[in-house]
């Protein structure tokens, strides 16, 4: 359950974003600039969190009263093996070490909906976490690491779990709206696994950023699933993209190699936390 320390939104003193070159970080930086919120965004070029000296570097950068947004992670496209897991945990260890030395105003950890197993019922913030692979295990372990250090420092921590993010500028090419759009533009076709029956919750990057800004302003703590609450099948997404580009886009269905799984999210906690926030529909995106 998400709780607010600020009943009404208050501009943070300074936001520090880790993982500056990532999709979420870039968009968050743009929004903070537009809103006139003081921030710095740190990429691995400035502070390589895999380096043993990175904790010390971060300690020098972080100031008392900062709001820290942790987006840094090696995503599955960078590797799904044990070595990648250990690198991600090392990064978390260095961040945690720096946090221990600083009195932060708030921490937001960008986790993932991968921490939740597939379920016939809607997934919600109280759903048990379960590692299906090393990537989800990494996020579960990092959540625990940051909860431990935030607890010891009494720093408000928001665990922020977005569903499948789409939008212009996505650096990943995972199965979903972004890949469908690229493929439709380049190859005039969209290829689906099976008939694309799987239902998924797709959230636009602008909505993810809006929720992060609300979370910063309200100094929210707890867990928030950044979801629309409206699941669509991949086939529906592909059809909408094809229709938006006019005629001549083929939707091809390949034989499926795995069972159909669906993921629906219950957005009730998001509605309670931010009733003024309205996610955009994929049609408008």
């Amino acid at each position: 359950m998400l709780q607010h320390l600020n009943t009404t939104s208050v501009k943070p003193q300074r936001v520090v974003i880790l993982g500056a070159s990532g999709f979420i970080a870039k968009n968050l930086a743009e929004r903070l600039t537009k809103k006139g919120i003081n921030f710095i965004s740190i990429s691995s070029r400035e502070v390589n969190l895999l380096d043993s000296g990175s904790a010390e570097q971060l300690k020098q950068i972080l100031k008392s009263g900062d709001s820290l947004v942790i987006t840094s992670a090696l995503t599955p496209d960078k590797g799904k093996d044990v070595a990648t897991l250990m690198k991600n945990l090392t990064m978390a260890q260095h961040i945690a070490s720096a946090i221990e030395a600083t009195d932060l105003h708030q921490m937001i950890y960008i986790s993932s909906d991968a921490v939740y197993p597939n379920s016939a019922s809607p997934i919600r913030e109280t759903s048990p976490r379960e590692a299906a692979d090393l990537y989800s295990l990494m996020h579960i372990a990092r959540e625990q690491i940051f909860q431990t250090v935030a607890g010891s420092k009494k720093t408000p921590l928001c665990i922020f779990c977005p569903s499948a993010i789409y939008g212009t500028g996505d650096t990943h090419n995972s199965y979903g709206p972004n890949r469908f759009l690229r493929s439709a533009i380049q190859d005039k076709k969209i290829t689906l696994f099976g008939n694309g029956e799987e239902m998924r919750d797709h959230i636009h990057i602008d909505d993810v950023v809006s929720l992060l800004v609300l979370c910063l302003g309200h100094r929210s703590h707890g867990t928030l699933n950044a979801v629309t609450g409206q699941a669509l099948s991949f086939h529906d997404v592909a059809t909408k993209i094809a229709e938006s580009l006019g005629s001549g886009i083929a939707i091809e269905c390949n034989p499926r190699s795995s069972l159909v799984t669906h993921r629906h999210f219950d957005a009730t906690e998001r509605i309670k936390a931010y009733p003024e926030f309205v996610p955009r529909s994929i049609d408008k995106s």
């Binding site: 019922s121 009730t268 509605i271 309670k272 009733p275 003024e276 309205v278």
Partner: protein
């Protein structure tokens, strides 16, 4: 004379029903003010028919806080409702204190019957504490339902009686009282009777949860639960009185208390009770049905919405707001302008921002973008739909319990949204 010690809802309903069956009743409570107020016609609880019953049988009822009066009672019921906290855990301390305060004043040969809602093991330990022969101490399961408690007390389906020795004859005084109600008697050991009450509530919750889950499937698939439910009622394995009305989860405190108790027992004994967690998750999810509806239909389209709420009580015919879905809704919509009306609930112990109270149902609708009927009070169904539409700014009617007919709503220009279809 028969004494009822503890004048909360349970004690008042049973003492009135007992008087109505021709017995002389002593209503005892350490607080003399309660008796005085009742004698002046001010009942501390809202229960349909209870006030009339007290009036009609006043000649058989005496109120007292004098411990010495208990010495004349051959049959004594402990009838204090056991309150629950925010986590739905029972607070047994007031009941235990009441027993300790009074038990030494009971006649040595009196029969003692515990009516209060207690967990398995409580009656046996209590009997030992008050140093009375176990054969004279009984536990009787109460299955009253707020709103129809008088009816259920006057014409019970059965009596479940916890005894130290189920095969032994009941005391003459207790047997006389039981037989006056002319229903099946089921003597069993203390722990069985205590667990029987919890078992009944678990089955009710199971029905409620199953109904709500299937009702939501109906909402998504184009089926109508109101068409399916009659078919289930004719199935002997389900029955005509099964809980098949879709609702907003479990509320009121009693069912929740028993779920907490059964989870605690399961944890102590290593029993698999994951199903109870599922019921609780299902209940919370369904409780927020109206919130999700009002978000989709109003909040997502209107930056300064105004909401009318009919009903704050957790169900009709009661003043209780314990775990009320309506109160949860109002609290979740703290930043939204809300006007509410409830026939019984005129204020809340913990105020909710931007919530005002109206003096009538129709007044609450003034300028509202949506009306939410959160408690199906009978008087709400009497309000003319055209008046509602004319008073409101918008046309959204969120009517979870379906107190209005869809065709009538359409004719009045209202867009109705209900559970199960």
């Amino acid at each position: 004379m028969i004494a009822f010690i503890g004048l909360s809802h349970l004690g008042l309903v049973y003492s009135a029903a007992t008087a109505a069956h021709g017995f002389r009743v002593l209503c005892f409570d350490p607080n003399p003010e309660i008796g005085r107020q009742i004698q002046q016609g001010q009942l501390p609880v809202e229960e349909s028919g209870l006030s009339d019953l007290f009036t009609q049988h006043a000649a058989n009822i005496e109120f007292s806080s004098d411990l010495e009066r208990l010495r004349q009672c051959e049959l004594v019921f402990y009838s204090l409702d056991v309150a629950t906290d925010r986590d739905n855990q029972s607070d047994l301390a007031p009941l235990t204190q009441l027993v300790q305060h009074t038990s030494s004043h009971l006649p040595h040969d009196a029969t003692v019957v515990l009516l209060s809602q207690v967990p398995p093991g409580y009656t046996r330990s209590l009997a030992a504490d008050i140093q009375r022969p176990l054969a004279s101490v009984f536990y009787q399961v109460e299955t009253l339902v707020f709103g129809i408690a008088v009816e259920r007390a006057m014409r019970p389906e059965r009596y479940i009686i916890g005894c130290v020795e189920p095969a032994a004859p009941l005391s003459p005084a207790y047997a006389r009282w039981l037989h006056a109600f002319d229903c099946p008697l089921l003597p069993m050991r203390y722990e069985s009777a205590e667990l029987a009450k919890i078992a009944i509530n678990c089955f009710l919750v199971s029905s409620v949860s199953t109904t709500n889950m299937l009702a939501e499937v109906c909402e998504q698939t184009g089926a109508a639960w109101c068409e399916i439910a009659p078919a289930l009622r004719l199935d002997k394995r389900i029955g005509p009185h099964a809980y098949l009305q879709p609702g907003l989860g479990i509320a009121g405190g009693n069912l929740e208390r028993d779920l907490v108790t059964i989870k605690s027992l399961a944890a102590e004994n290593g029993t698999e009770a994951g199903i109870v967690d599922s019921w609780l998750v299902s209940s919370r999810y369904r409780r927020d049905w109206a919130l999700r509806k009002v978000f989709d239909l109003v909040l997502s389209k209107n930056s300064s919405p105004r909401i009318a709420i009919w009903g704050l009580a957790y169900k009709k015919d009661t003043h209780s707001v314990k775990n009320s879905p309506s109160v949860f809704l109002a609290r979740a919509l703290a930043s939204v302008e809300k006007t509410c009306y409830d026939p019984q609930v005129k204020s809340l112990a913990s105020p909710i921002p931007n919530l005002s109270f109206s003096s009538s149902a129709i007044e609450a609708c003034s300028g509202a973008d949506a009306l939410l009927v959160m408690t199906p009070w009978a008087e709400f169904a009497q309000v003319h739909l055209t008046s509602i539409r004319e008073t409101m700014r918008g046309q959204i009617l969120i009517d979870p319990f379906g107190i209005f007919q869809e065709a009538d709503c359409i004719a009045a220009g209202l867009s109705r949204h209900t559970l199960g279809s």
